[in-house]
Subunit: 396 residues, 2 copies
């Protein structure tokens, strides 16, 4: 047989909603030789991973590990383990990932009380309480901390958790796009289940879904009347592999776990607080530059994610063409709008290593060039200047 085409992978600057670029150290770890999933050295790595993930989640939860699937698998794991047939759940829906929570809950047999607000708005505590009041016996409240589809940073999470507990419910938090970028304080906020992904704030390749589960949630799982509807994601089974029993369940994606370990080392060597601050400063610089480009931010002020900035596409601009130009001429990916925001916004991610001034400035230069060609009037060099002055301030 004649040779098949060689693998062709372009070098991209990933400024979309994730995956983000992965540092050389992490890629090097990823490419190491495979060992067995029950190898004593790999079991040691699993122990280390649990401990680093606990630090990343700001939690002491014993059940803290990475699901062998993407963030969506960890999302599914969180719900499918907690929900039994006809359970009532309260779900905040202000974007795609909130809708998905509701969709999943429905598939797992729950009766979902959706708290729906317009995409791009935040959910209010009172709305959660009203929904809780409509339940006979609410099982859980779930909201999205960083809504990837809109760039909205959901506040009031500790208040919602307190409320959920007051009504006898568990609090589930989607931190897929927030972990590693902004504070996620699982224990302090009293979150019962939080799940994330590997390829955004943690700076690892996609394919793993970090998950942490409180003692309270674990008690709920252990007292289920029916078996978990998923075998692959059954925390009761996974716990026996990730715990001291080391009972074979599935073959862990060995190399992705190497990479996640190395990525977490980078996160924790930098320190969470320093990392959050770096994300905040990079976003401030980006937003200053976008202002000078004449672009409007889509998320409401005060509730904008630093790691993911959503921008309204100006009238008369072909949004897909701008993204295609960025990719073709600058090897730079940014995100499109999803669902009702399709064609109406761009989403710019500055996550993990990419939350840095260099990425901000080169993106602004590229956007300035493309948008000027598309007919926008932009004072030459002004976006870069605006960002630079913000960067200089940030460095004080």
């Amino acid at each position: 047989m004649e040779p098949l085409p060689k693998l062709k992978i372009p070098e991209r600057i990933l400024l979309g909603a994730g995956p983000t670029n992965v540092s050389a150290r992490v890629l090097e770890a990823l490419g190491r030789g495979v060992v067995g999933h029950l190898d004593p050295e790999f079991l040691q790595l699993m122990e280390a991973l649990k401990s680093l993930l606990r630090e990343a989640f700001c939690s002491k939860n014993p059940i803290t590990f990475a699901i062998s699937g993407t963030g969506s698998a960890a999302q599914e794991a969180s719900l499918v383990n907690l929900i039994e047939q006809d359970d009532e759940v309260v779900i905040g829906v202000n974007g795609l990932f909130g809708s998905r929570l509701a969709e999943m809950a429905d598939r797992f047999g729950a009766r979902a009380h959706k708290v729906e607000v317009e995409w791009g708005r935040i959910i209010e505590v009172e709305q959660i309480e009203a929904a809780l009041k409509r339940c006979r016996k609410p099982k859980l409240v779930a909201v999205v901390h960083a809504e990837t589809s809109t760039g909205v940073h959901q506040p009031y999470v500790p208040e919602m958790a307190e409320l959920a507990h007051r009504y006898g419910a568990l609090m589930v938090l989607d931190v897929v796009t927030s972990l590693g970028c902004v504070p996620v304080e699982v224990d302090q906020w009293q979150i019962d289940a939080a799940y994330s992904c590997s390829q955004k704030g943690l700076g690892a390749p996609p394919g793993l879904g970090p998950l942490t589960v409180s003692e309270r949630a674990l008690a709920t799982i252990r007292s289920r009347k029916t078996k978990c509807r998923s075998w692959y994601l059954d925390i009761g089974l996974l716990e026996r592999y990730w715990g001291q029993e080391r009972l074979y369940h599935h073959t862990a994606p060995i190399n992705l776990n190497y990479a996640l370990y190395e990525a977490l080392r980078l996160v924790l060597e930098e320190g969470l607080a320093a990392r959050w601050e770096r994300h905040r400063k990079s976003a401030a610089a980006l937003q200053a530059g976008l202002g000078a480009l004449g672009l409007k931010l889509a998320a409401p002020e005060g509730f904008r994610l630093p790691q993911l900035t959503s921008i309204r596409v100006p009238d008369g601009i072909d949004e897909a063409k701008v993204r295609a130009q960025l990719l073709k001429r600058f090897n730079t990916e940014i995100g499109a709008g999803l669902g009702p925001l399709k064609g109406r916004i761009w989403r710019i991610g500055l996550m993990a290593d990419n939350a840095n001034p260099q990425r901000v400035l080169s993106l602004l230069d590229a956007l300035e060039e493309i948008l000027r060609e598309a007919g926008l009037e932009i004072p030459r060099g002004s976006p870069r200047l605006a960002a630079e002055s913000m960067i200089a301030e940030g460095l004080n």
Copy 2:
């Protein structure tokens, strides 16, 4: 914060039940930079992957792609998409992975008619038919082609598929340990859903679950009365991402897909027939050597998997100690027994690159040394000699 311990990964020779060692070309592909899951170049790679996977499965099924999880996730995907509440299913159980099929079917709401035989035996066609006759309206028959827990090669698969169809049921085949090692002819055998893993016969790292679904199975999926109980593994949704619509579903594990592509290139450049023959010959050499060691094979003659040889642990030998010695002194992993075979068998895998004379001979040397120290009387060098003479024959 002080630096965390560096990632420490030993070099292992992986002769267990999988994962197997991954070639340098595949590891190199794995470690390439990340691109976006909707990047035009990645979408091209997905198309190429589908086409190479079809060749590996010997199928023209349009729905052929890799689940973003391990082989167990692909197993779950196969069942959860086909089963609806109270469906009757027939499951062949002659080892751990057959039990798991039944366990999963039960969780997805099916009434499982188990065809149970002793671990290590094959399932007979008549037993499947008897179970089909007990069903009012059987939805599917599922059996394991290569039972990883016993080393048994299930025959009569085409006959079972024909039978399933005659009774109006679908045929599901677990080819986790067979794909890439022994013939798996999905179309010719009329299999409706077959699933595998990346880390055994295909020689890629663990983390992806190749899956192929016939038109008949797809029609069943499309005419479901209820939604699939899994969102993450819903083939109807996955099809819209892997198909031309490119609708975002989840973020594919980009780098694992690079590696799978490269691994499939190696498989197809060698050619399936040549690869099957290489596995067959390597096993013949291994088995000759094991005979000279005085070891007895556990699987019945005529139904032994070349890629996975199960051996009875001789009386008076501490099986775990032998494995520990192999690992410590020879950096070589072999598999233990599972379930009722725990402590009673070893499982030796010769998969992908490891199906070669060099691996066979060095393992036999190591086993000879360890087993002699443990008290077995073995004529010095005889296992190697027996294997070498078989290898010489095989090369004629």
